[in-house]
């Protein structure tokens, strides 16, 4: 079954490249949707079915849709964006990335834990829900407050001011 994993991951990486290098922002958005799709597949393969489904429902189904709506509303034309920029900042990040890569390499060399065998109920809705609403209920509540704040923020931000009333 490993090949399934490698396929999914390879395609995910491919389409993420598409996110970065696509000219049209709509194409970027669509590439990201696909990437998320394959990532969701990876989740399922890693014994996280609840997260996998949730990813599609929430991330892809809501957040990306929102993105695409906005992009369509703003009607961004292709001419408005130029693919890459031409100044110094562009190249400054490369050495940084190299450094990060080397750090990561040494992380991989760290001996990993031996895998603990898990039963089928691992990662199921019941299991995750037990943990989420049990030991981590405080975090859960705080996350909901974050969402509430975001809602209020959005409402405030998009309110029309006096000057703009048509």
């Amino acid at each position: 079954m490993e090949y399934l994993f490698y396929t999914f991951s390879g395609l995910a990486i491919l389409f993420s490249l598409g996110v970065v290098f696509a000219r049209n922002p709509i194409y970027s958005g669509l590439s990201l949707v696909t990437t998320l799709f394959f990532v969701s597949g990876i989740f399922v393969l890693l014994h996280a079915p609840f997260i996998g489904v949730l990813q599609i429902l929430v991330y892809t189904g809501a957040i990306m849709v929102l993105f695409l709506y906005v992009m369509m509303l703003l009607n961004i034309q292709e001419e408005q964006i130029v693919g890459t920029r031409k100044h110094l900042m562009k190249w400054m990040h490369l050495p940084l990335i190299v450094v990060i890569f080397f750090i990561f390499k040494s992380l991989i060399l760290v001996p990993t834990f031996s895998d603990i065998p898990v039963d089928e109920k691992f990662g199921s809705v019941f299991n995750v829900g037990e943990s989420l609403l049990g030991s981590y209920v405080l975090v859960f509540e705080i996350a909901s407050i974050v969402l509430l704040a975001a809602m209020i923020g959005v409402v405030v931000l998009t309110k029309k001011t006096q000057k703009e009333k048509p």
Partner: protein, 626 residues
């Protein structure tokens, strides 16, 4: 126990009177001053009692009060100690103190604050006794400061007059300079000897006439010099004598007690107490001698030109203190202390007599306006004349003996200049004292204003009795039974000097000096009786200079002002350049740093992310410890 009571009683008296004064400052009740006199009488009796067992013998009386302070390895005990030297001085302080108290009953009778006055007077005697009976330098210093305080309080007793209060302040401040040196000396001595008890620093052994072996101690010269500077402040040596003439602003009995008989002699007492120290510090002793000689001569020259009766006596005191100090310097410790005692007799007498004159002349103090008092104030005249004869060294008076001893020891040093200047100072003493009595008591009374002339009266008995007693002592103070000199001689180690100057013996010195003194006295008597004294003539420049102590006081004040001005200029400069500069620089540094940092905020999110990543990389790097 008697030692403790003798010292403690004056304090109790002072507290009692002070409380009474605070409770009811307006009401005057002569019972309390009389009480304070009795206190001192009791102390005197106790002193006599203890003197019987202590004088002339090896015996000492010790009273240990308790542990006072301890710091680290040093432990100071407060202990009272009475040996022959202290005993003599306690007799002096309590005796003359009692006489002055008695005298003050008459002199300060009309003053509304008389209770406060006597409270201070008792306090002074208490502190003086502490000073004398202290067994260690710190306790002595307590007494030292205490008498300085009382001197300030008493000089400025009539503080409503600003000049008088300034005089008190000046006394305290000049004294303080000496005190600073005293403290330094104590610190050095503690370091060198490990203890500040006199038995460790300067044991005075009557039996052994050897010197204490100090050869292993390093800073002895410095200790001796600093200690002497302290004595200079108290005993009014040049240049720290400035306060004494100004101190005449206080009541005359105060001048008699404090500035003639007791406080100013505290410095000489310290020199005597530490005689073993000075005997082993030749350079310091040399300095002591020179300062003493200079002071004696200088003050005598100034005294000639003074017109205030008390100022003449004040400069005379400074001069006589110079005599005592120079005696200590040349190693004649016994002679110096002995002169201290006789000087207390006749100078106390002279001051009290002057007080009587002032009282009788209704507070006239200018001698140019006096004259011919011998017929109007007989008792005062007679006693004053006795004091005069004593101070000039008339043969067989007490002053003759003490001065003679000093001269003899100066001649023993072999230094011709010393001897000549000291002899000259003695002759000048004769000169100015003769001038004084010629203008005040002898001659005609035509210079006195008519108004005052009618009211001249002799002083009441309560003031005359002390005069008579002191006169008696001035006469017999050098005689066999009454003289303390043999006791003192046994006390201090004498050391053999070189050949006497011009091979003079003690007798020949005595004869020469007496003859010269009498000649000077005679000539000046004739001169001053004959010379016209015009009060309002403009004085010659010499006289002005002489009156203003050859401008010493003024030049020192100017110097002081100049020093303060430069000091403040320096601080101003430091403040401007350093403080402001420093703060300005710090501001510049901080501002440039802030500007540098704010350059990182570009407004472009990519750069933010860049720095974010940079930070994270560093954190990971350092937390893994690669």
């Amino acid at each position: 126990m008697p030692l403790l009571w003798m010292t403690l009683l004056p304090f109790l008296g002072s507290i009692a009177l002070g409380t009474r004064y605070i409770i009811a400052p307006q009401k005057k009740n002569m019972l309390y001053p009389v009480l304070s006199c009795l206190v001192l009488l009791v102390s005197f009796v106790l002193a006599i009692g203890m003197a019987f067992s202590v004088l002339g013998s090896e015996e000492v009386i010790v009273f240990d009060i308790g542990s006072w302070m301890s710091a680290g390895t040093y432990n100071f005990r407060a202990r009272l100690y009475l040996d022959s030297l202290s005993s003599i001085l306690t007799l002096l302080v309590t005796g003359i103190g009692f006489l002055v108290h008695l005298y003050s009953l008459g002199y300060m009778h009309e003053d509304p604050k008389v209770i406060k006055y006597f409270s201070y007077l008792n306090l002074f005697c208490g502190f003086m006794l502490v000073l004398i009976t202290a067994s260690s330098l710190p306790l002595l210093f307590v007494g030292w400061e205490g008498v300085g305080l009382c001197s300030f309080l008493l000089i400025g007793f009539w503080y409503q007059d600003q000049e008088k209060s300034f005089a008190g302040r000046k006394a305290f401040i000049v004294n303080r300079i000496g005190d600073a040196a005293f403290i330094l000396a104590m610190a050095l001595a503690l370091h060198a000897f490990g203890s500040l008890e006199f038995s460790a620093i300067s044991p005075i052994a009557s039996v052994t006439h050897e010197h204490f072996a100090y050869h292993s101690i390093g800073n002895i010269e410095w200790i001796a010099i600093l200690l002497f500077i302290g004595c200079m402040g108290k005993s009014a040596q040049f240049p720290l004598y400035l306060w004494l003439p100004d101190a005449m602003a206080g009541p005359t009995p105060v001048s008699a007690l404090i500035h003639a008989a007791t406080m100013v002699t505290a410095g000489v007492y310290v020199l005597g107490r530490c005689s073993a120290l000075y005997a082993s510090a030749p350079m310091a002793s040399h300095i002591v001698t020179i300062v003493g000689i200079f002071t004696a001569f200088f003050a005598a020259t100034v005294a000639i030109f003074q017109n205030d009766i008390k100022k003449v006596l004040a400069y005379s005191t400074v001069s006589q203190l110079g005599f005592m100090v120079l005696a200590m310097g040349v190693g004649a410790y016994a002679a110096g202390i002995f002169h201290l005692v006789t000087h207390a007799y006749f100078k106390g007498l002279l001051f009290l007599g002057a007080g009587s004159v002032i009282h009788g002349m209704h507070h006239e103090q200018d001698i140019r306006r006096m004259g011919g008092l011998k017929s109007r104030m007989v008792a005062t005249t007679v006693t004053f004349m006795i004091g005069y004869l004593a101070i000039i060294g008339f043969p067989l008076m007490s002053g003759f003996f003490s001065k003679d001893h000093i001269l003899h020891h100066v001649s023993l040093t072999g230094n011709a200049w010393y001897f000549i200047i000291v002899l000259l100072s003695a002759l000048l003493t004769a000169l100015y004292m003769t001038r004084l009595i010629a203008l005040v008591f002898l001659g005609s009374n035509t210079r006195i204003s008519l108004v005052k002339a009618q009211k001249i009266h002799e002083s009441p008995n309560v003031m005359l009795i002390p005069l008579w007693i002191l006169a008696f002592l001035s006469i017999v103070g050098g005689w066999k039974f009454f003289s303390f000199y043999p006791v003192l001689e046994k006390l201090f180690p004498t050391h053999a000097h070189g050949h006497a100057l011009w091979h003079m013996t003690e007798t020949s010195v005595a004869i020469i000096s007496s003859v010269l003194v009498l000649l000077v006295a005679g000539f000046s008597m004739r001169y001053f009786l004959k010379a016209p004294v015009v009060i309002d003539k403009t004085p010659s420049s010499l006289e002005i200079a002489g009156q203003r102590q050859w401008y010493v006081d003024e030049s020192l004040m100017q110097f002081g002002r100049y020093a303060m001005a430069s000091l403040s200029k320096i601080s101003n400069f430091i403040e401007k350049i350093i403080v402001d500069g420093l703060i300005g620089n710090i501001k510049f540094v901080v501002m440039s740093f802030a500007r540098g940092l704010s350059a990182m905020v570009t407004g472009i999110p990519q750069s933010y992310v860049f720095f974010l990543l940079l930070g994270i990389v560093f954190i990971i790097y350092f937390s893994i410890g690669m």
